[in-house]
């Protein structure tokens, strides 16, 4: 068993073991010590993930040193066992024998997975440590620490499986964890309702996702990402993986014996194998619908703000850093599919840009600190999709930027949420920014770390958010000024570029609005906090500090060393674009690619200026006289703009009016029909045998002679009919 396989198994297996251990022993044995299995397991997983990153890195170096390889990017696929299989399930064409449907439990190691694993386990570890302090009095302590590793297990599996079916399974599994954790305080009606809402809205997205998978299956006849080696019998026999460890490099010479996976090497090498046109668009849009649900994009974004009813560490981990980025991960993973349909990419970009702006506008006027952060999460996720939508066949910069933003965002958004949690912890559960203020002296560590997070989110040099947001804007801007596109598309990207810049301004403004309201001004402490409002314990501040350092350095470090981009570009979906790009450049004889020509210095300057302007405006309004804010509010309210933003653009009300109520009406009609018509019919049918039985009972009157007579009469009837037949 080689290292990579061991690591791939260990990373999800340890949290799963922790879940089982805590679930079994937590209530009676571990009690207040329930966090130990979780923290240990996630810590080991995190270490394993980091080792995996280096292993992958080494693999890439090794492949590079061996000269040009036929493999697109770097990937290693490990098949553990076959979960299910149906022979002859799919007939590709009449000439070809039917293919089997197989679900192999297969894990993969490639740069994309490695980055996600490292990010997920690291953030999870910090959040788990933070939760020790945050949850310490909760009666459901052990329950919390059995859900968290379950989530980590599901999330690590989600990013490391190599099959759409399993992706869907764990997609649902993280959704389940999210549901369980949003409703963690299920006694609270708002929390229970929020959990239900999240679940239902996600169902819509998952329905689209499932349809997308069906369409993929009927189109390509497989749901594996990777190529599968077949037994010598070929397609007709039940496909068996020859070796349980498949390194695709080895069988590249035998194309006849390989079944091309949807995202496998065969398809990546020859892009003409991808279906184009309407089918491709349909597949991509359905997958995007799934991503919209999970990553809270318009029009399915309404669940995320409500999900803040869950414990704050959960909000930080699941609803800011990791789970909500699953949609971004999935779209990145499926980029080869999206590249087959230009429309789909434009839709991705448009949804991303629109959601980013919409959420930023909503965040301006919210008063709940966690809600502000939730809308900012939606907005930043929109940025990521915007970046992904700016990918072209010739440039993977958008995708790299999107993933980079995902990576940096995980740190500073987790930091902000944990900071908000720290404030909430000290304020006795109060989270309304209007009810407290001037906390900077009371909670210095929280104040400073929160500031780092705000600066990173606003995109100020040299914080992490600056670098990644800048890259996205640059990629979109490049599309907007690209001459390869038709004018209409160019106009779309131009608009999206403007939206991105505007969002950057708004982000800086609302972030610092929240920051100033919380930590500056006159010191106010709500009644609920009591007299001992204090800085949070060490277990909470240490993760905050670590995250703050990350928020400061990860962006600059990886951008200046180009480490992240180089590493990620070896992921098969992105490597395919790089390969295309190399071919195109060789053909056109261009010395420098377009995206390198733009060194973005002016984009950086503009966005920095805009962010600074946002912060300045926030300082002007919220550090000065409150009357100024009131006057501005009144002016804006005259136009209805303020109310629109305050009311979250009334999405909940609109959905309630146009979706929920009509459905409820139909449901109550069906209920009425069921009760009055169907139930009566069923009851009637059920009673019929009894009625008939009652009618027959007089036959059984106990008299021997009657019985004899009945027997003989029956006999005579049978005789009569048979003899005349």
């Amino acid at each position: 068993m080689d290292t990579i396989k061991t690591l791939l198994i260990l990373i999800p297996a340890l949290p799963l073991a922790a879940t089982l251990l805590t679930a079994v022993l937590g209530k009676r044995v571990l009690r207040r010590q329930s966090h130990w299995p979780t923290v240990l397991a996630i810590g080991l997983s995190c270490a394993a993930s980091l080792v995996l990153v280096f292993q992958v890195q080494q693999g890439i170096h090794k492949a590079e040193s061996e000269g040009p390889s036929p493999q697109v990017g770097y990937e290693k696929v490990v098949t553990l066992w076959t979960w299910a299989g149906v022979d002859g399930a799919y007939a590709y064409s009449t000439s070809e024998p039917a293919r089997g449907f197989r679900i192999d439990v297969t894990l993969r190691a490639d740069p994309l997975t490695a980055v996600m694993l490292a990010m997920v386990t690291l953030v999870s570890l910090l959040v788990a440590v933070y939760s020790i302090g945050y949850m310490h009095d909760d009666p459901g302590y052990w329950r919390f620490f059995s859900y968290i590793p379950l989530f980590v297990f599901s999330m690590t599996m989600l990013v490391s499986v190599s099959n759409f079916v399993l992706l869907y399974v764990f997609w649902e599994a993280v959704g389940l964890c999210s549901y369980l954790l949003i409703g963690f305080w299920f006694q609270k009606p708002a929390a229970a309702a929020a959990g239900k809402k999240a679940f239902l809205v996600n169902r819509i997205g998952d329905f689209g996702f499932a349809l997308g998978l069906f369409l993929l299956w009927t189109t390509y006849g497989t749901l594996d990402f990777h190529d599968v080696k077949l037994a010598a019998g070929g397609e007709g026999t039940a496909a068996t993986v020859v070796h349980h460890e498949t390194e695709i490099v080895e069988d590249a010479d035998q194309p006849g014996l390989v079944r091309a996976g949807v995202l496998g090497q065969t398809m990546l090498r020859d892009r003409a194998l991808y279906v184009t046109g309407g089918v491709a668009t349909a597949i991509c849009l359905l997958l995007m619908l799934g991503a919209c649900g999970k990553s809270a994009q318009f029009p399915l974004h309404v669940w995320l703000p409500d999900a803040m009813e869950g414990p704050t560490p959960v909000s930080a981990l699941i609803h800011a850093a990791t789970m909500v980025t699953a949609g971004v991960y999935m779209v990145t993973r499926c980029l080869p599919l999206f590249l087959a349909s230009e429309v789909a990419l434009q839709v991705v970009a448009a949804i991303g840009g629109f959601t980013a702006l919409l959420a930023a506008l909503t965040a301006l006027t919210q008063t709940d600190l966690k809600r502000i952060l939730a809308y900012s999460t939606i907005s930043q996720l929109g940025y990521m999709f915007l970046g992904l939508g700016a990918v072209t066949l010739l440039s993977a910069a958008g995708a790299v930027a999107g993933m980079f933003h995902l990576f940096t965002h995980a740190f500073f958004k987790a930091l902000l949420f944990l900071g908000a949690g720290s404030v909430m912890h000290a304020m006795g559960g109060v989270i309304d920014v209007r009810r407290f203020g001037g906390l900077r002296r009371l909670m210095p560590t929280t104040h400073w770390t929160f500031l780092f997070g705000c600066l990173a989110l606003a995109g100020i040099v040299p914080f992490a958010g600056f670098w990644s947001k800048d890259l996205i804007l640059a990629a979109v801007g490049e599309q907007a000024y690209s001459h390869a596109l038709d004018p209409q598309t160019q106009r779309l990207y131009y608009l999206l570029y403007i939206a991105g810049l505007l969002t950057a301004f708004l982000t800086a403004f609302y972030t610092f609005r929240a920051f100033f309201l919380t930590f500056y001004g006159e010191e106010r402490i709500p009644r609920e906090a009591g007299h001992h409002a204090h800085e949070s314990p060490r277990s909470m501040t240490v993760p905050l500090a670590i995250l703050a350092v990350c928020a400061l350095v990860v962006g600059a470090y990886f951008e200046l060393t180009h480490g992240f981009a180089h590493f990620l570009e070896q992921a098969p979906p992105l490597a395919m674009i790089a390969a295309e790009q190399a071919t195109a450049e060789a053909g056109a004889g261009l010395g420098q690619s377009a995206h390198q020509a733009l060194s973005h210095w002016w984009v950086a300057v503009i966005s920095s200026l805009i962010a600074a302007a946002g912060i300045a405006l926030a300082a002007l309004l919220y550090l000065g006289h409150p009357q100024r804010v009131e006057r501005l509010t009144r002016t804006l309210d005259a136009g209805g703009l303020y109310r629109l933003s305050r009311g979250k653009f009334f999405f909940d009300e609109i959905y309630d009016l146009f979706v929920v109520r009509p459905l409820q009406a139909v449901a109550s009609l069906s209920f009425l029909f069921d009760r009055t018509v169907i139930d009566r019919l069923v009851d009637g049918c059920g009673l019929m045998p009894k009625r008939i039985g009652a009618a027959l009972r007089p036959l059984q009157n106990g008299m021997i002679q009657f019985y004899a007579l009945a027997m003989v009469l029956g006999l005579l009837v049978l005789l009569g009919t048979l003899l005349t037949m």
Binding site: R697, P698, Q700, N701, G702, I704, Q705, A708
Partner: protein, 147 residues
């Protein structure tokens, strides 16, 4: 007509009549012993047919079956009489109507229709008493009373 066939017909008809009489008797009689005898009569009808068929086919099988039927009927008769005797001891009647307690629990019991009341019989004409009654000695009555 072939005399063999005519013979067969005759016996079959007699057999069927015996079978039918037995069956009707079985329905209509309420004395358990008579019911059993009716069933025996049905068996005799079958036996007669079998013997006739055996002769017609020139085969022993029918007669063999008849002998077994007779043997089995004898066994049944033994058991029947034993059972009927025990039932008679319990109920004091041979009427089969007595045995109808086991039935569907919502069904009424069969009640025998009461026979119409017979009109009181006309008194027979009687002669008026003539002569004297003999005198009975007291010791004579004492003696009788002791008997």
């Amino acid at each position: 007509m072939d005399p063999e066939i005519a013979l067969l017909h005759n016996y079959l008809i007699v057999g069927a009549v015996l079978f039918g009489i037995g069956m009707i008797g079985f329905f209509s009689r309420r004395n358990m012993i008579v019911m059993f005898l009716c069933a025996e009569m049905m068996l005799q009808g079958v036996s007669l047919s079998l013997v006739a068929f055996g002769r017609f086919h020139n085969d022993f099988g029918g007669q063999m079956l008849v002998i077994f039927i007779i043997a089995v009927a004898a066994c049944e008769a033994a058991i029947a009489l034993a059972v009927v005797l025990m039932l008679y001891r319990r109920a004091g009647k041979l009427d089969v109507i007595v045995w109808q307690a086991l039935r569907e629990d919502n069904q009424p019991a069969f009640e025998e229709e009461a026979l119409p009341e017979e009109p009181p019989a006309e008194p027979w004409p009687s002669l008026s008493r003539a002569g004297l009654s003999p005198e009975i000695l007291p010791e004579e009555t004492d003696f009788r009373s002791r008997l």
